[in-house]
């Protein structure tokens, strides 16, 4: 049976994945790829929760992770709907073009 590695390992992985996701969000200008980076970040958080739940021997971490997944699903639906709505009217997929809030 495969047992879990020591908890810090999971936390470090979670941190790394989160950083990669955040970095990617800032670097890429395709809105869809940016959204994928958000998913990476969410997964990293999930990983962290479950790792702590495992470490403390409680179930709450898994419950929260479940909720996060459900919410992420809802978020993706709405978010992609918005992206489609915005970029349907334009010819390019460049999130920098959505700068109406420019001061």
């Amino acid at each position: 049976m495969i047992e879990s590695a020591p908890t810090p390992y999971y936390l470090v992985l979670s941190a790394v994945l989160f950083s990669i996701g955040a970095l990617g969000f800032c670097i890429r200008k395709n809105p869809l790829v940016m959204f994928m980076c958000v998913e990476i970040m969410l997964n990293a958080a999930n990983l962290s929760f479950v790792a702590f739940a495992r470490h403390l021997n409680v179930i709450d971490g898994q419950v929260i992770a479940l909720f996060i997944m459900a919410i992420a699903a809802a978020e993706v639906v709405v978010g992609l709907g918005i992206i489609v709505a915005i970029f349907r009217l334009r010819d390019s997929i460049d999130v920098d073009e959505v700068n109406v809030l420019r001061g």
């Binding site: 999971y10 395709n30 869809l32 990476i40 990983l47 495992r54 179930i59 898994q62 460049d94």
Partner: protein, 168 residues
């Protein structure tokens, strides 16, 4: 090094590698596919921690549903104009810096303090299983559960509204 650790390291390497490719590949479809790989690795992690239900749901919902949605939208969006040069090239440097900074901070916090303060449960304890999850979900967390269902409903309605386009 025990089997678990080896397993962990291999899966972690694949996860990190996939994530990096997600953010670096120019082709959007390629990015999406490597995201699926990353999600799959995370599911394996869940498995190794004893959260089998969560691993299953991860594959079903995330890799199965969400990524399909992503791929649909990618194919739907067909840019006619080639993407122009990135206006924010300089931001790459800054972002990397902050990423490194964040990583270091998290690393340090993980190494030094937080873990020492927490009581370490004996590893041999049977991990909590699906039944515990179910009970918690429908007793302690029943309110958030119901609210989440409403949230999903709202998301559905929202998607329909957004997808409608211009009202004729």
């Amino acid at each position: 090094m025990s089997l678990s650790e080896v397993f962990f390291l291999i899966v972690a390497a694949i996860a990190i590698g996939s994530a990096t490719l997600v953010i670096t590949l120019p082709n959007t479809v390629h990015s999406a596919l490597f995201l699926v790989a990353t999600l799959f690795c995370v599911a394996l992690m869940f498995l190794s921690m004893g959260a089998e239900f969560l691993a299953a749901v991860q594959i079903l919902v995330y890799a199965g549903a969400i990524m399909i949605l992503f791929l649909f939208v990618i194919t739907l969006m067909n840019p006619q104009r080639p993407a122009g040069p990135d206006r924010l090239r300089s931001q790459v440097v800054w972002s990397c810096a902050f990423a490194v900074m964040l990583l270091l901070v998290l690393w340090i916090s993980i190494q030094e303090g937080a873990m020492a303060a927490l009581p370490i449960a004996p590893v041999s304890t049977t991990p909590l299983g699906l039944d515990a999850l179910g009970i918690a979900l429908f007793t302690t967390y029943v309110v958030p559960f119901e609210i989440t269902s409403i949230l999903l409903l709202v998301a559905m309605v929202g998607a329909v509204v957004l997808g409608r386009g211009r009202v004729q």
